[in-house]
Symmetry: D2
Subunit: 100 residues, 4 copies
Amino acid sequence: MHAIADIAIIPLGVGNSLSPYVAVCERVFSDAGLDPQLHANGTNVEGEWDEVMAALRRCHEILHEMGAPRVATNVRLGTRTDKKQSRNDKIASVKSKLDT
Amino acid sequence: MHAIADIAIIPLGVGNSLSPYVAVCERVFSDAGLDPQLHANGTNVEGEWDEVMAALRRCHEILHEMGAPRVATNVRLGTRTDKKQSRNDKIASVKSKLDT
Amino acid sequence: MHAIADIAIIPLGVGNSLSPYVAVCERVFSDAGLDPQLHANGTNVEGEWDEVMAALRRCHEILHEMGAPRVATNVRLGTRTDKKQSRNDKIASVKSKLDT
Amino acid sequence: MHAIADIAIIPLGVGNSLSPYVAVCERVFSDAGLDPQLHANGTNVEGEWDEVMAALRRCHEILHEMGAPRVATNVRLGTRTDKKQSRNDKIASVKSKLDT
């Protein structure tokens, strides 16, 4: 099952500079072949469901190893069976309506 | 790794009555031993990370089998390593501050 | 416009014990007449859109005043025009499918 | 209070092609001066809290006027008082850690 996911990871108990932690997760997602696309409130990834979830688990584990006593994540997950649709397809679909 | 998760599943393309789909997911979570606690905007579950994620995947699969061409889910996930904390502990911790 | 909302507020830069901050927000929601229902990953509220949003803003403001340099919130918002539906209606609708 | 928000709006009861609705919201955010940045699972906006919230309300209202009986939105909201930080600052902060 193909999944498009948007992941916002917040390590708690490490102060208020989260970028070093987010950067580590970016690498985890890249190494997993999920082509992470960073935006201001999260990271988009795309791949097989199990690979997305394994990478997300790895992020939590690494952030705990880096010293975060708590990790709180918000994930938006989308799957569909009616057609193949990539992230770029989704964005292009909206943009085509904007141009008209 | 123990996880507390709050899951809001929205099947798309099935009209605007979602309760039959949510009910199916409740059963999936119950069968997985995750003790689902339904609220007005989602369901709380608690268990081992992999079991939570396997149940969530099962929900997506079943909703697709029931005819939903798309399924969009929002998940809040929490893990912590500094102490064992159940969902009831979390709620009790807030409530104790309310009483004071 | 009536809104049902589920709000998870995370103050950052204040350590990893969040319950004092969540408790303050509970009081803000109560004082606003939004009948907050606390669960393990957030708080359900219900009321007029503008009142819900004003209370949410008040929470952010108070948490900053309490010393949190950053506040990150996840909100699930639902509105509907086809019928009046309270939070209890939503939950009852799912539960009726579970019993059958 | 300055806010950075990431908004994922799902109209229900309108089939499974959501892009016309998302496009309308993009225009609402643009017209409000919130500089929407579309990604595969939502739209990033940035501006004064009240302006962000007014635009979000306007989206719900318009989607209902377009025929959606229900609208479900997930919003990630961030405010901070320790420093001025734009969306580009946030992204640049993570990317600088990736390059090292």
